[in-house]
Symmetry: D2
Subunit: 401 residues, 4 copies
């Protein structure tokens, strides 16, 4: 039976706010009309605020985050270029795979799943690379498969301290707009995101920001490319016109989504993600379970990958959630299949929705044979949310006084 | 901050299913077009199934349930007619008020709020009314203000056993489509509902079914009426055309809503309402609180009015829920203002949504000073839902075997 | 086959602007929430601008224009009161019928269909009514059935010149918001409209403005009423809360609709209606046909009722339009059935849409046997629209210079 | 001023049917849920019917038609491969450009704009290519820039008669689903379309069908590719799961769109496009103007490119249409800029919409200084539509008899 809301807690696509859904419900329009740039140009300007960049150039590709990964590589590197990458989850794995398939010479550091980018090892290798053969360093800012957030600033520091001039690539698909990200401050050269995460839209846009240094590198890049080429895709941010028909309704949705983010304040959005995530984590710990992310410094504010007890199959938890409780949890992928289930907590969410996720997970876990205590995770999260909301209210009162 | 879903737990308007919202998003159309009856006529036929009547005639008034109350009275009675009513909550109170303002001679029995229609007292009065001065007996099937469901069949039995021929009026606004209601079996003469409750639509339609006996009485009725007159409003169910422009988008929504109800099965819908309601009640009792409805026989499956502890103001609970947790609870009205808050659990709902309501209520109560245990209500409801879902699955397996 | 847009040219319901449709696509909300008045109160204030009244009080009834007719009568008059009305089309006829059914003593002047309110006869009768037995004078501002706009200011002058204190009732359902209407300037006491005409919404709201004099009369009115009573319905404009669940999505739609009207400017909206209507009329005259409205002073800017040639049945024209050309024209009602078809040209319309209506009507007429010249009406309207648009552009240039 | 409908007559994106818009208005869902394939798999099966292929394999790429062009090339050819192409409009030009940028050795035949694929020249070159150095032959089935439909069957015949085994690539972006196209019958190896044309969706999907021979060629293809690779994108049609988050709302829209097409019948859809297009052409000829497409055999049923009189700038026509008459016409691109304007007539359209386009074009042309006669094009199209509709009705009557 399909009554009521489906409770969507996969780490993307995320719940779409009502205002965004309304904004996307448009009739088609001529993308070459004289007033079309009035829609398009401010989107590019506003996306720069999301990336926290003044000097970067934003590209919007009809496609997905994966497409934006490809655009970043094929526009700034050359076949055979050596790049430094690390692999510690399904999405960092797929990016390595892409780099290899596109002909890069990938120096890949395998790290245990549950850990993040090995900053010290990066530092060591960069230091050893006296000839600057490494053309680019890749960071998966938030590994969606394991709920691990890595230290981009640390990688920037490693580059700087070793005087290395490699480009810094960051996959921010499940972080940008939800977790602190600072393109300019951290000297990121290629920052990638998609529409279906923190931007609270359906999938369909791959979004990328390139630094001035990346655009310099672009001039030397000879990889074949067409659909994803910067050459063609520079136009929209300058003129407001796309080289091929853009998904107009997503552009309208993006307008509404950016308006919501700025109305709340980007830093408030980020703080809210932390507050909501922390409630979920307190729930998990109250159950006596642990996160896949091994250390607190890696805990992700957009997705929690939860390790189920030894005797439990996480697939059953997920299946129960879906079939019995209309709840979509994220599956454990690849190496952690059956060992973890994931609660996505990014985008358009509030406290009570997170409590619903925990309540549903508790039932799904117990149905799968776990002996966690009913209501225990909910109670722990409730107390955290109550205290945080009270603290915020007090802060506002103090500020007003 | 307005992130995520608003959790709507007032006892109407209720949550609108996605399919119904989509169905209502129509462009306007000519309500005198040759194919307009293809939309309209099946609605009348299908509403009869909702009322469980074969012989009744359905009327759809652009308006509200209140309008349908007025239509019922002004089309079948005459000024000065004596009617037997009872008053035990805000909505039964308002119906009495309307009957008086429309010029009826109301014999009103006041009952303590928390109780239902006094069937035995009705029986006594009907028995005493040898001259059959009482022209109609009124029953508020589900008193939305106190969460009390009354015994319509009992009132019918009282009429039958006393050989009384008064018309039987039933306000089923917050019961029909959600709680067992049987127009023909119970000999109801005028049954009233609205669009914004079990039918899962926005407000805007007052819906009424009249028995053959009611239509006979109509012939003798001389009350002034026009907008709400049966004379004009018989046409749509016969011809498919309305005497004035109908709210077409609601008719399309009603089509989708009826389709959903019949796909699930009306009796399954009713059973689901009971299952969900029982979870909420178990949560309430786990908190150590009690319902406004004094006895189990009166517990409503569409709304629970919860009495807060002595030292607590229910208005604070509701205000906390709305301001802090994006949750709309129903207020205590009139006599019970400040003493109760209400959780509406009707329409398009599922288990996890009810758990969210309980989780939110727990925080709101604790914020208001109550010492109920965090998570306790959620846990009690979880266990009920888990067992019920397991029981249902077993039943389906047994049936398949 | 049902491809493409249905061309809707009935005089209501009218085409809904995209922005209004989007605005109505909302989830339900608690109509007793603390912030609900933020939606409601500005609607009442802004509707006063639509009625052009400073001192009037606006009422919004869930229902229809017909309901607002009833509200106007039952709240300000008493059974047996003499009222002066005139009848020259289906809608003025229905209002007379309602007045009679509600118990008024109707002095009805029958006028040939195609003419408007007989101002001089009104003047004569008012002058004769030395004892001021006439309590109210009724004007159908725009008779939708015949496309006739009457002279409200003239009726006010008749009242003033005879020193008569009768209330002035105006049915502005198909005029207000589209044709010049001035409640205060014309001393209108009860002005009535609905949501599905110039306000570009679905049917579902009956809207009424009452003068201070009308509210005084209300105190003496003893007609039974409840659903439509001013007593209950004063609350929303004062507090923002309705006595029963309002059709929230229509309120959101009304917000969007009023925003559109004010963005264009109410007087510009009215001027646009005139410009579009004049194009349609030029088309009709180019065909060699005539309007039902007998004199130019009565030509309506919201609907043109077109008299078909003697040998043609207007019903065939309408049937052809609907079945072959996906176009909904208005039918001739009652006395003019078969003799006229109507093109509604009010609400969210532009020049090319009106040309589409004419093009479709030309085919439908020719299919029905008429020998009007193909393209002739379109051509006449085109030239009018071109010159008007050029004139407007010149005016804007002059203003800018 | 922005009242009423925008009249959209660009050759894509096309008007979206109401049912499709409703279907796209969905909340997000888990693309890895067990029931997700129930949505996905039938789409692939049904798209085969659109391509008219039994043996082909369909790929759906989040992207655009341009992306599908790239997918076709990069999955089946190798860098340096010789391909035979022709160029006679902006879109055939862009495909040539892409082929060159992706590293193919393009043998490009330039043909005058207004003509189509030079079948005889193709035949000659294939015949000369004894060593079968040409690996693929490209056909732009419908050149959207000039309104020219080319002879795909003729090219197939040229390949067959010369015994040449080159792959046959067809750009059917603005033909498939609207103009007769037969993948299997014509031996097409790679057929490409997009969502925003005959499929009546927003842009966002690049759709491609590959023959068995193409899939064989794929095995030998060594071009770098990742986002657009067949390897990754075979999964969805087999399993119902995408390798990256798909634009779910477009998949729901595609479901609705395919349902509409099959309900009407694909061949009826194609016949309707012909009927509507022919009306537009008759209008153009009645004006005394000519099409860019030089011969009748090349006239496109999805878009008419109209050559304006010598003394007129087509850009003014388009600008007038947009600014004054809310009508979007297609611009003349590149070589024909200023010389032609285009009326797109594909997708969700009907007769009266086409008349609106002609009426609007007449005014825009006259405003730009053209001396065409007002109403003349409309009249010619009206008579064609009337006769065609009468003919169809007669046919249905005959069939029923």
């Amino acid at each position: 039976m399909k009554n009521g809301t489906t409770h969507l807690f996969v780490p993307g696509p995320t719940n779409i706010p009502e205002a965004v859904r309304r904004a996307m419900n448009v009739s088609m329009q001529d993308m070459r009309a004289p007033d079309f740039p009035e829609l398009v140009l401010p989107l590019f300007a506003d996306l720069k605020r999301i990336f926290k960049t003044d000097t970067g150039t934003v590209f919007i590709f009809p496609g997905s985050g994966t497409g934006a990964w490809e655009a970043a590589i094929s526009n700034t590197l050359n076949r055979g270029d050596r790049v430094l990458m690390s692999r510690f989850g399904q999405f960092s794995h797929l990016w390595v795979d892409m780099a290899q398939r596109l002909g890069l010479d990938v120096e890949c550091i395998d790290v245990e799943w549950g850990e993040g980018v090995p900053v010290e090892e990066y530092q060591r290798r960069l230091s050893d690379d006296k000839g600057h053969k490494i053309k680019a360093v890749f960071v998966t800012h938030n590994e969606t498969a394991t709920g691990v957030t890595s230290d981009v600033a640390g990688v920037r520091a490693a580059l700087d301290s070793t005087g290395h001039d490699a480009l810094l690539f960051v996959d921010g698909v499940s972080s940008i707009g939800s977790i602190d990200f600072r393109m300019d401050a951290w000297g990121v050269d290629l920052a990638i995101t998609g529409s279906q995460k923190g931007l609270m839209l359906p999938a369909g846009l791959g979004i990328l920001a390139a630094s001035e240094k990346a655009l310099e590198a672009h001039k030397q890049s000879r990889m074949e490319r067409c659909y994803f080429s910067f050459e063609d895709m520079k136009a929209p941010s300058a003129t407001g016109y796309f080289p091929y028909t853009p998904p107009t309704q997503l552009l309208h949705g993006l307008r509404a989504s950016l308006d919501l983010i700025f109305a709340e304040g980007l830093d408030n959005v980020i703080a809210r993600h932390h507050r909501l995530a922390e409630g979920v984590r307190r729930g998990v710990h109250a159950w006596g379970l642990r996160l896949c992310a091994k250390e607190e410094k890696w805990w992700s504010d957009t997705v929690s990958a939860i390790v189920v007890p030894e005797n439990i199959d996480a697939r059953h938890v997920i299946a129960n959630g879906y079939a019995r409780y209309r709840t979509s949890f994220g599956a454990g992928l690849s190496k952690v299949a059956g060992r973890v289930f994931r609660i996505g907590h990014l985008g358009d969410l509030n406290e009570v929705m997170c409590l619903a996720a925990l309540a549903s997970a508790e039932m799904s876990l117990r149905d799968a044979g776990s002996r966690i205590e009913a209501g225990s995770g909910v109670a722990a999260a409730q107390e955290w949310y109550r205290s945080e909301i009270a603290r915020n209210e007090q802060m506002l009162r103090d500020r007003a006084a």
